[in-house]
Symmetry: C2
Subunit: 283 residues, 2 copies
Amino acid sequence: MDIVQNPTDIQQCAGERRRSGQTIGLVPTMGALHQGHLSLVAAARAACDFVITTIFVNPKQFGPGEDFEDYPRTMESDLDLCRAAGSDLVFTPAVCDMYVPGSSTTVEVAGITEILEGQSRPTHFDGVTTLVAKLFNMTLPDRAYFGQKDYQQQMIIRRMVSDLNWHVEIINCPTVREPDGLAMSSRNRYLSPVERDQALILNRVLEQADQLAAAGQMSPQEIQTGMAETLRNAEGIEPDYAVVVESESLQPMEKNFGCAVALLAARVGRTRLIDNRILTFAE
Amino acid sequence: MDIVQNPTDIQQCAGERRRSGQTIGLVPTMGALHQGHLSLVAAARAACDFVITTIFVNPKQFGPGEDFEDYPRTMESDLDLCRAAGSDLVFTPAVCDMYVPGSSTTVEVAGITEILEGQSRPTHFDGVTTLVAKLFNMTLPDRAYFGQKDYQQQMIIRRMVSDLNWHVEIINCPTVREPDGLAMSSRNRYLSPVERDQALILNRVLEQADQLAAAGQMSPQEIQTGMAETLRNAEGIEPDYAVVVESESLQPMEKNFGCAVALLAARVGRTRLIDNRILTFAE
């Protein structure tokens, strides 16, 4: 497995592979890898000739007061995990090489970035889309792999790819969960044992929403109201949002059926967690 | 010469050429082609295996009250000119295919877009960069050709390419002028015979600035002041700006020597024209 730090080198490596006819799979991560990330690498490995995993804690997607400095950095074990999962190359650029002095270009998706996560983290998605644009241009992947856990992010990236005509297929990989249902997240390690237990309510609320949607007795709005109430009453949980929205635009649903997604964000102690579930409403 | 209208088709055409090892040259235009544009096509023809000229009057780079509706559209003669100049393919997309309903992504370069042209045309460069990003992704050119006449635009595109890591070489082609010195522009056809004559002052002012810089007796600031005054006093001219600035950042020069550019914009009657000249200061 190759480890490449320089943007020029990754561009060259990927170019050589592409010219030799290989398909390229890209798995962008911020490191602190867990089974969720590794499922992306595995999916890429199964479908692509050459798998590039990127490990880069992207300062531009952290706001002031967020955990950029403290974000877990576990490069050595990350590299072992990438190797074991079948990555061909890991790209681990330095911040100063990704954002050279004087750089001033931003890729912005309007609308869908301004709601939900965007309300709490107003510059977050501009940081994500700008970085992903750079990674796409550096590697020109045939397919790029994103986890469903960051649902809004994935919808934004799909919008960006479509709007700016990158020739890359965005592959969704299901959220990987702990045995007790908690969605895997690099931030779970911030949780105390008590908080870890309290955090289970997030998945439970989504499971319940799923069952209610399938039962077909409640409207999206009613389910949403119930989710919010359950979270508000849960011990140790400070909910940020809990919604049931149209699955692509993330706008309120106008009808009870069709593709919906339940999305939530909450603080558990000082740790902010997100989770989601696709809902299928009985017609 | 192929004529392609559909973004998916151009992506496929360009992809096939690239995979067969051909180098691709891209010449983005808004049509109403003149010798300036054709010099770009000729430069691409000389250096690339496959030359793509795009003709698209991009609504996003026109502000309210600008001449989007009236912008000259001369497709038939444009196609003849492209053919004669050696273009292999002309891409002539429809607005609705370039900006599909719901599209909401913008590529924004901060700073350098907010001055000079950006002051008079606040949304102009976002429209340019977003379109050029799309064209780059559709065609993945090895080289893209831009005229020096749109100097600020070219600097912005260079910044964007560098910041977002497109693997494309930006080629500058010198401004092509009428025999009497007027820079060629699709908007020159708006000028009445009297205005056409009055417009000559733009090039004369730049020529004078060039001579003064070479003579080494005046500072950039003094030359700039002289340019502005000459334009203010010229019959039929309503100057917008006239500056001598650092040639890459377009910021005021801190020293008298090095790379400078004189840039100006003015209305001649109702027609807004721009022009520029690289200055070399005697040390």
